[in-house]
Symmetry: C2
């Protein structure tokens, strides 16, 4: 038993898709979420800068004495890699391992597609991770750098022509290869689920990183007897590096409901001094 | 006569459109450019965060002993406002005053449109500035938050369908109002010039902020006898807060040519410690 909170961080709001799933799987758990909204997006930055930001995000989580840290961010997970399994003794997971395990279990024709930010696809991390688990699977990747701005600016409805056009352009190589399983390698992408599903056509299974990371964390905490023992619903506390009001306004589309808990500002000076 | 450099900064690469014009108007001037590529974009962040980032950018310029500072960034200019005319004794200009002066001189029907980032349009700064100069002019603003990602991800050719669709949606209210002059209130937007011009139709004059800021600086330095006296071409030195390689790769589309001078990394710790 362990009543400490689960720590989740992301470059912005996308990781809230993971929080939503965590809360649904383990309603009694306290969760601490940090969205680095003053420095979003991570996915177009250099490896060096992403590593530095991630180290600061992890240090912030540790300050809050969490029992497990989830990098609910495809970019950070890709750059950090699959080997990192703890942060100074605190269990750690990115979205990489949980997601590729799900993809390997689900594909029937052995062709898996991966979409993500430029940094994620450039790292080749999902393809490498899949090959480690099941070398016979062929992997096709495509960077979709416009997907995050589309989501953040409201171009995400199923019938949105702009989203459809951009998706058609980015996903064309994956359709040509005939993948039957598609990893949405960025926690923003579930918001574009319908547009992506329509474009890929029937019979292609979409895998959401945030959701798989949440299932992975649930299994880990259960296996290690680290679940909270609490009669009531757990508390979710939110932290953001930019305006807390903006965070509240934008959270609903990722979380599926309005934020009930507190949102606290993390000053940039604090963040950069941490690691 | 003053042989110090002119300092120009922006959230990223867009301000290079101003550097290009400065170098063309005053080829003998040294120019120092800083692009805050580790924290781009500014335009979707809160006023408080933008003010902090701008203060740090200005402090960095001052460290380099420049003779004039240009905030070649529509968002910073809007948030800082038109009143700021020096930074501890160093002449300062944003793009606001130069651009609205040009717009007021050019409009024939007294209807001016302004497009920019969410922060720029929300601030209402261009409209206020225009009313100060010529209260009879009516101003229509439209936030175009997708334009920066479109430019940064290569969706900017004249015949690009995605860019055309997004432009049609954003610019519709300005067309309906019949503006004859349109301020491109973000230094990224000149890259979308053709798409915007086609959408607005003939007879609408587009005003580029970077270019107007450069003309303003040239006039200021001439009037105050602060031009450089140098036989040879001036040097342009570049600084960026993210990868200098990425900066080099992306600069050409804004600068119109490959970077000849040096590109130096500014560490985030240095930047946040400055102001």
């Amino acid at each position: 038993m362990n009543n400490s909170a689960i720590g989740v961080f992301d470059s912005g709001m996308g990781g809230l898709t993971c929080v939503k799933e965590l809360h649904s799987l383990m309603p009694n758990e306290n969760i601490i979420y940090f969205g680095d909204t003053a420095r979003i997006p991570y996915g177009t930055r250099s490896r060096e800068t992403i590593m530095k930001y991630a180290a600061q995000d992890i240090a912030l989580m540790k300050k809050h004495d969490v029992k497990m840290i989830i990098a609910a961010c495809g970019t950070v997970s890709s750059v950090v890699g699959m080997e990192k399994k703890d942060a100074d003794g605190i269990p750690f997971t990115g979205v990489l391992l949980p997601t590729v395990q799900a993809a390997c279990a689900k594909t029937r024709n052995g062709k898996v597609g991966v979409i993500g930010t430029s940094a994620t696809i450039k790292s080749g991390s999902f393809a490498k991770a899949i090959r480690t688990i099941k070398p016979s699977i062929s992997v096709v990747g495509a960077a979709c750098p416009m997907f995050v701005p589309l989501v953040e600016n409201g171009f995400s409805d199923r019938d949105n022509k702009v989203a459809q056009l951009v998706a058609a352009q980015y996903l064309e190589p994956l359709k040509r290869e005939g993948v039957d399983t598609l990893i949405l390698g960025c926690t923003h992408y579930p918001i574009l689920h319908d547009v992506i599903a329509d474009c890929m056509g029937e019979g292609v299974e979409l895998i959401s990183t945030g959701s798989e990371a949440a299932k992975f964390a649930c299994a880990y905490l259960t296996r290690h007897d680290m679940l909270a023992e609490r009669e009531t619903d757990g508390e979710i506390s939110f932290y953001s590096s930019d305006s807390t009001e903006m965070f509240r306004e934008n959270a609903e589309s990722f979380l599926g409901e309005k934020i009930k808990g507190s949102v606290t500002k993390v000053e940039m000076e604090e963040l950069t001094s941490l690691a």
